[in-house]
């Protein structure tokens, strides 16, 4: 993926399924890894992201680190601290995005204050404009509920970006409807309550959770707690169109930092974990096809 994606985006609340992001889910289940940009520094981060791409990433959620990450668990929070310490800023973030040599689509995941503050003009427009320029195809803003998202949705429409929302296990009624109206690219389905973080167990209720978004026009990617190929398989078998994996990958980065492992080695580990997850997802899809849907 490169800068040319900027112009190819045709998303918007009125035309949701035509976005490149949606397309990334078209050829089988999507693997959507998350890393914090600049963790622990610019160059290593670039190497890790490219490794994930080699490992089969369809979309990369690239975290722009914010100092108060209130939706994150300790793993991501610590990664964010490392990235900030390593000098990551919004401007450097966009440089990193532009410098990446990856096939996957890029989605920016960050908190609203950074979006809001960017540029001289106040409001989200300058950030979205710059993101589009840097080849970012979509945004996930965990602290921006649909109720507050009007301005951002408008800017995304203007610059052809998707706006992804997170549906929690507790989301329902009006709120679900409002999100459905605003979402584009894919919907991020939160597999369980709580914050991000790798778990050894993974919610068995994927099917129930997916039910509520079953008839949405966007692909459904499930995240929160997925850490192995076996998890990935189970989730996709449960009906997900994609899997989002963050903390499990960041654990590898963190271990690399702590043990002083060479960047290349960590990158290799990330690539092989990515492959495992991609294959797990594919296996889940096969299982799914061989069994009656909705089981």
């Amino acid at each position: 993926m490169t800068g040319d994606a900027t112009t190819s985006g045709t998303s918007g609340s009125g035309d949701l399924d035509g976005s490149t992001l949606s397309n990334a889910f078209a050829e089988g289940p999507a693997f959507v890894p998350y890393l914090v940009a600049g963790d622990p520094d610019f160059e290593s981060s670039k190497a890790y992201l490219e490794a994930l791409d080699r490992g089969g990433a369809d979309v990369i959620e690239l975290g722009l680190p914010f100092s108060e990450p209130m939706a994150e668990g300790p793993t991501i929070q610590t990664a964010i601290a490392r990235a900030l310490e390593g000098g990551m800023t919004p401007d450097r973030y966009f440089e990193l995005a532009e410098s990446l040599d990856v096939e996957a689509s890029l989605v920016c995941m960050t908190y609203y204050n950074l979006v809001y503050q960017y540029g001289t003009e106040s409001g989200p427009r300058p950030f979205v404009e710059r993101a589009a320029e840097a080849g970012i195809e979509g945004l996930v803003i965990p602290d921006l509920p649909a109720e507050e998202a009007e301005d951002l949705r408008a800017a995304c429409d203007e610059f052809g970006l998707d706006l992804i929302f997170i549906v929690a296990p507790t989301t329902d009624g009006d709120r679900l409807d409002r999100m459905r109206e605003l979402v584009s690219g894919y919907v991020y389905v939160q597999a369980r309550l709580g914050t991000t973080g790798a778990r050894s167990d993974v919610s068995d209720q994927t099917a129930t959770i997916l039910e509520r978004v079953a008839d949405w026009e966007v692909p459904r990617a499930v995240g929160f707690g997925i850490s192995s190929g076996e998890h990935a398989e189970r989730i996709v078998a449960g009906g997900a169109d994609g899997i989002i994996v963050g903390s499990a990958l960041i654990d590898v980065v963190a271990e690399g930092v702590e043990t002083g492992r060479p960047v290349r080695e960590t990158a290799n580990q990330l690539e092989s974990l990515a492959s495992e997850l991609t294959e797990g997802a594919a296996a889940g899809a096969r299982k799914n096809r061989s069994e009656p849907e909705g089981q």
């Binding site: 108060e68 209130m70 939706a71 929070q77 601290a81 809001y116 549906v167 929690a168 507790t170």
Partner: protein, 429 residues
């Protein structure tokens, strides 16, 4: 009282989706129980504030300050509230509300420990299990408050990430809540956070000014020219102002000026590079942004990263401020101000030595503001002109919790009214 979720551009509900149902449920409970007094909630709240909390707290004419400043200085004595600060008004209200909502677990964050101790006390009183998140650094600095929480039966959960202070504790509490919203209520400690917290906490704290306004009228037949209150997150400020906001002089009535005093810290200069603002003067120097669930004024760098704030007073040391207060400042109804650490410390000593009231360092900022704005007035001139003839200052808490800090911080400075501290330092260093 309005239940609107925003104050002009400020406010709102910027929270992770997982919390939205809890926020909706809370908004509903706020409207029913607090605004509509359903099931007599507010009656029970007020009765408990009286019997358990010790309300009403008095207003007191500060004779020696009045003479010094050449005008009538009255103090609203929230330092006399159970627990030693206004914080209990809010904590008791929220814990009681959680009970009415059928929640069976309470969590809260705390920095200096005042909100944590108030919440722990309210939970013990109302028989609710309670867990308090507190940064490891703060735990080590605030042992007496940690002990008070534990002795009141609360668990204190150390937060080891980052610097281990308030910011991290808030994040950690939201994190707990995100996983436990169904049975747990998060008692936010000030007029910050997503709606309905800013309105709800204001309403619980409004008892301060409701009482003070009536007491002042009883005592003097009129209203004060100026009300002065310190502002961290702003719960004391909003509580002290709420009943006076309509006294804006609009219908030819007397206008009551409202001054919010923030922590000027050691300087108003920020260090962008290090991401440090050596103050907590959000209203005066902050810029609009989104933090901890609300759009409001913030101390942030040009990228939007939140700065580390600083004040000698731990309770004012917060990079945000209540959205309603931000709006009131923009509208010109509230005058933002700040005084630095030195002025606050000198005011701490002045009130202690001349009035026999040891104020919280937070409250000392409001008192220091009088010194800075008016200064000592000669006997002949009737002073106070800068802030009018009668001033009401809220003493938001007592300073027992600040003794160690004051000993440390006073020793190297040349402060008005401070006794020689050497005898205390020896044992401490």
């Amino acid at each position: 009282m309005s239940s609107d979720a925003t104050f002009g551009d400020y406010g709102g509900q910027y929270v992770p989706e997982a919390l939205m149902p809890a926020i909706d449920e809370l908004t509903d409970a706020y409207e029913r129980y607090v605004l509509d007094n359903e099931d007599g909630f507010m009656d029970e709240f007020r009765a408990r504030l009286q019997d358990f909390g010790g309300r009403p707290t008095p207003i007191q004419r500060a004779d020696q300050l009045s003479e010094r400043y050449g005008c009538d200085v009255y103090l609203k004595r929230e330092d006399l509230l159970h627990g030693g600060a206004h914080k209990l008004n809010n904590a008791l209200g929220q814990v009681l509300l959680a009970k009415y909502m059928g929640k069976d677990r309470i969590i809260a964050e705390t920095g200096a420990g005042q909100h944590g101790t108030a919440t722990a006390m309210a939970c013990a009183h109302l028989d609710m299990p309670c867990e308090i998140y507190m940064g490891r650094t703060d735990i080590n600095r605030q042992r007496p408050n940690v002990f008070r929480m534990r002795i009141n039966g609360a668990e204190v959960n150390p937060v080891d990430v980052g610097r281990g202070t308030l910011k991290e504790a808030i994040t950690e509490t939201f994190r707990d809540w995100a996983g436990t919203v169904e049975d747990t209520h998060y008692v936010v400690g000030s007029v910050v956070g997503p709606h309905p917290f800013p309105s709800m906490v204001r309403d619980f704290q409004a008892v301060i000014s409701e009482e003070a306004r009536a007491q002042f009228r009883d005592r003097t037949g009129g209203l004060p020219d100026t009300v002065v209150a310190c502002a961290g997150g702003g719960s004391n400020t909003m509580g002290s102002f709420a009943a006076f906001i309509d006294d804006d002089g609009s219908d030819g009535d007397d206008r009551v000026d409202l001054h919010a005093v923030e922590a000027g810290g050691s300087s108003l200069q920020v260090d962008e590079e290090a991401g440090v603002a050596p103050n907590s003067a959000t209203l005066s120097t902050g810029e609009e942004g989104v933090l901890h669930g609300a759009r409001t004024k913030l101390l942030q760098d040009s990228d939007g990263q939140i700065m580390e704030s600083h004040s000698v007073s731990a309770g004012l040391d917060y990079a945000g401020v209540g959205p309603e207060l931000a709006q009131l400042v923009d509208e010109g109804r509230v005058t933002p101000a700040n005084v630095d650490d030195d002025v606050a410390l000198a005011a701490f000593h002045r009130l202690s030595a001349t009035e026999g009231i040891i104020p919280a360092l937070e409250s000392a900022h409001a008192l220091g503001y009088l010194e800075e704005r008016i200064g000592v007035v000669e006997e002949t001139e009737k002073g106070g002109a800068a802030l009018g003839d009668s001033i009401l200052v809220t003493v938001s808490g007592r300073g027992d919790k600040d003794l160690e800090t004051v000993i440390e911080e006073s020793a190297d400075r040349d402060l008005d009214a401070a006794p020689d501290m050497d005898v205390f330092r020896e044992g401490i260093r």
